[in-house]
């Protein structure tokens, strides 16, 4: 079975006055049907830009510089703008980090749901009145699906009249309104507090099963990934540095960066011990030397690391971009 989404060698750059920023530099990702893929990385790792590129939402001064994007067998880069628009919202949907800014403050929630249905739902009746009624019914249905009480009345309210958690749900509702095959959730929990976070993630998992949908969870929170994702991809400085089944990557991380990430998470079992952050800073994405990008922060680097490193196989479906795999102690 071919993957639902296949990204090969994606390169996305931003042209700035200071130089060309290589935000995504040769990224390969595959999302299978029905799976939940976690994409982890810090700010600047390129995780969000990768999926913006997939959706064709990268705007000047950014552009896609190379690579192949296949969705459900279709070459996304060869599609016309109109065809791409047909895909967005219908087959691939996206949610953003902060629902307060993602929802238009000047339009009611009902209007924002309605417009997606309006353009994508071919099953709507033709006559205006029936159409409006059908859209209204469907909107209420969707809001119920994501657990918004009193949906009927709330359709006429504005985004700022809802709490943070509810807004996130509304955003998810909008994204899922046309039952997309792939949901890209960009930092769905970052702007929420802990209890709400859990609810939202539960919701996504639930809906994923119900709608038989693939989900990409972009986050910097490994805890989220550990709980909800089948596979995980770790990104650093525009590249994928490790990927594999979640359990395996978390229990047996291979790349020094992944190890560092895991080690820096405060844990109850390690109480009393100092927190161990990863020393150093993300390299300059403009003038990238031809070496392992983690070189400056790596504790186990060797001379050979001063060359371009490619992905190496560690186990079944588990790969990492490091030459120190066998020797590295976990």
């Amino acid at each position: 079975m071919s993957a639902l989404l296949s990204v090969k060698g994606l390169r996305t750059v931003f042209e700035t006055r200071a130089g060309i920023v290589r935000a995504v530099d040769g990224v390969d990702i595959e999302v299978e049907r029905g799976e939940c893929l976690g994409v982890v990385g810090e700010s600047g790792s390129g995780k969000s830009v990768t999926f913006s590129s997939v959706m064709g939402l990268v705007k000047s001064p950014g552009r896609i510089d190379g690579g192949e994007l296949l969705f459900d067998g279709r070459d996304l880069r060869s599609l016309s703008p109109q065809e791409l628009r047909n895909l967005r919202g219908k087959d691939i949907a996206m949610t953003m980090q902060d629902a307060l800014t993602a929802l238009n403050p000047a339009l009611t929630v009902g209007e924002q749901i309605a417009e997606v249905l309006e353009i994508h739902d071919a099953s709507l009746p033709a006559s205006r009145r029936e159409r409006r009624r059908a859209i209204r019914e469907r909107s209420v249905e969707i809001l119920n699906l994501v657990g918004i009480p009193a949906a009927e009345t709330r359709l006429g309210q504005y985004p700022h009249e809802f709490s943070g958690g509810m807004r996130q749900r509304i955003m998810i509702a909008i994204a899922l309104s046309c039952s997309p095959k792939l949901l890209i959730a960009d930092e769905p929990t970052t702007a929420l507090d802990v209890t709400i976070q859990a609810q939202v993630l539960e919701l996504i998992t639930e809906l994923r099963a119900k709608l038989n949908m693939s989900v990409v969870l972009i986050t910097h929170d490994l805890g989220v990934v550990a709980e909800h994702c089948d596979r995980v991809i770790v990104m650093y400085a525009g590249q994928v540095v490790e990927e594999g089944p979640t359990r395996e990557v978390i229990e047996k991380p291979q790349h020094p960066y992944t190890k560092g990430l895991l080690a820096s998470i405060p844990r109850m079992s390690l109480r009393g011990q100092p927190i161990r952050p990863i020393e150093g800073q993300v390299p300059d994405l403009i003038n990238m030397p031809a070496e392992c990008r983690f070189y400056s922060r790596c504790g186990v680097r060797k001379a050979v690391c001063k060359s371009l490193i490619s992905m190496r196989r560690v186990g079944v479906g588990h790969r990492a971009r490091c030459v120190r795999l066998e020797e590295a102690s976990s």
Partner: protein
């Protein structure tokens, strides 16, 4: 917004209006030159007649008393008699007011109709040639002295090209019986398209001159606001939903982007009041502005006083309206 809040805000205006009246009154009351002497002119009158006249005009009372009388009269619309016209000031002002209002409205319309599309286009095509020209244009717009620009326009269109008239509001042949006193409307109501065109040709240059600084400012505001809006997450989200570019632009971006534009327009409309005087003088437009300027030179103080008060009150109310408008348009801002 509730009526209660509205009334509360209106009441907050009262001290300002009061203060404005004080200043308007003082401006004229403290002007050198004895109004009585002006009225008398060259006539020979006795000392008693002079004293009687002074008493009639209330000029023998103290300043605070005179202010109270002034205010009391003002509220009923009585501003005394114009020295020059020998008619009640309110009557004279009322006569000239429609011309000024019509000019201001047309200027406002032209400004809005030009600046909004230009601003939006400049934002969409940021840094293109179009954008650069628009930026330069708007810089010029605020740097051009209105009176000079008006004269240039006259020289070009009226004198050299003979396309547009030199002065006045309408040609003699097109005079009609007024209904609303707004010529552009009246000429149509009376079924005289030729007169309408005539009135239009007369109002064009002055309205352009008057509206120019406003157009320049509004264009920049719209552009900045649009750029700001286009960067917002909800625009990206709207695109992620698969909406067409046009829909994203008009439904999502524009609605939010125009809020600052409208607010600034409401505020700047007040400055049209000041600009009126210049433009009406340059183009010989028979409006309130030109009347005020003439009256100053004629030392027609009651009229100047009334006009200053009128302008100030209008300005305060306009700013108030702009405030309210902003809160109405922006659902997130609560009073």
């Amino acid at each position: 917004m509730s009526l209660g809040k509205l009334i509360e805000r209106l009441l907050q205006l009262v001290p300002v209006l009061l203060g404005v009246s004080v200043i308007a009154f003082l401006m004229m009351a403290l002007t050198p030159g004895d109004p009585v002497q002006i009225i008398i002119g060259d006539q020979q009158i006795t000392a008693e007649q002079e004293a009687a006249l002074r008493h009639d005009l209330g000029l023998d009372r103290s300043i605070p008393e005179r202010f109270a009388i002034f205010l009391g009269n003002a509220v009923t619309g009585d501003f005394g008699e114009s020295f020059y016209h020998r008619r009640p000031v309110s009557e004279v002002i009322a006569e000239r007011l429609p011309a000024t209002i019509e000019l201001s409205l047309v200027a406002l319309l032209i400004a809005l109709a030009t600046s909004i599309p230009l601003g939006v286009l400049a934002a969409i095509r940021k840094n293109s040639i179009f954008d650069r020209i628009a930026t330069v244009g708007s810089l010029l717009g605020v740097s051009l002295p209105g009176f000079w620009f008006g004269i240039l326009l006259l020289m070009l269109f009226a004198v050299n090209l003979h396309i547009l008239p030199v002065a006045g509001r309408i040609g003699y042949s097109s005079e009609i019986e007024p209904i609303t006193h707004f010529l552009l409307i009246d000429t149509l109501l009376r079924g005289r398209p030729d007169a309408f065109l005539d009135a239009l040709s007369h109002i064009l240059l002055p309205a352009l001159t008057l509206g120019l600084p406003m157009t320049a400012i509004l264009m920049r505001v719209t552009r900045t606001s649009m750029l700001e809006v286009l960067r917002q997450d909800y625009v990206t989200f709207a695109e992620a939903k698969g909406l067409s570019r046009r829909r994203v632009l008009f439904r999502h971006a524009l609605k939010n982007a125009l809020i600052p534009t409208v607010s600034v327009a409401a505020i700047e409309t007040g400055s049209l009041l000041g600009g009126n005087m210049i433009v009406e003088t340059v183009f010989g437009w028979p409006g309130l502005g030109r009347l005020v300027v003439e009256s100053i030179f004629l030392r027609n103080y009651p009229l100047v006083q009334a006009a200053v008060l009128f302008y100030a009150v209008t300005y305060v109310l306009l700013n108030f309206f702009a405030d309210i408008l902003y809160t109405v348009l922006n659902p997130r801002v609560k009073l």
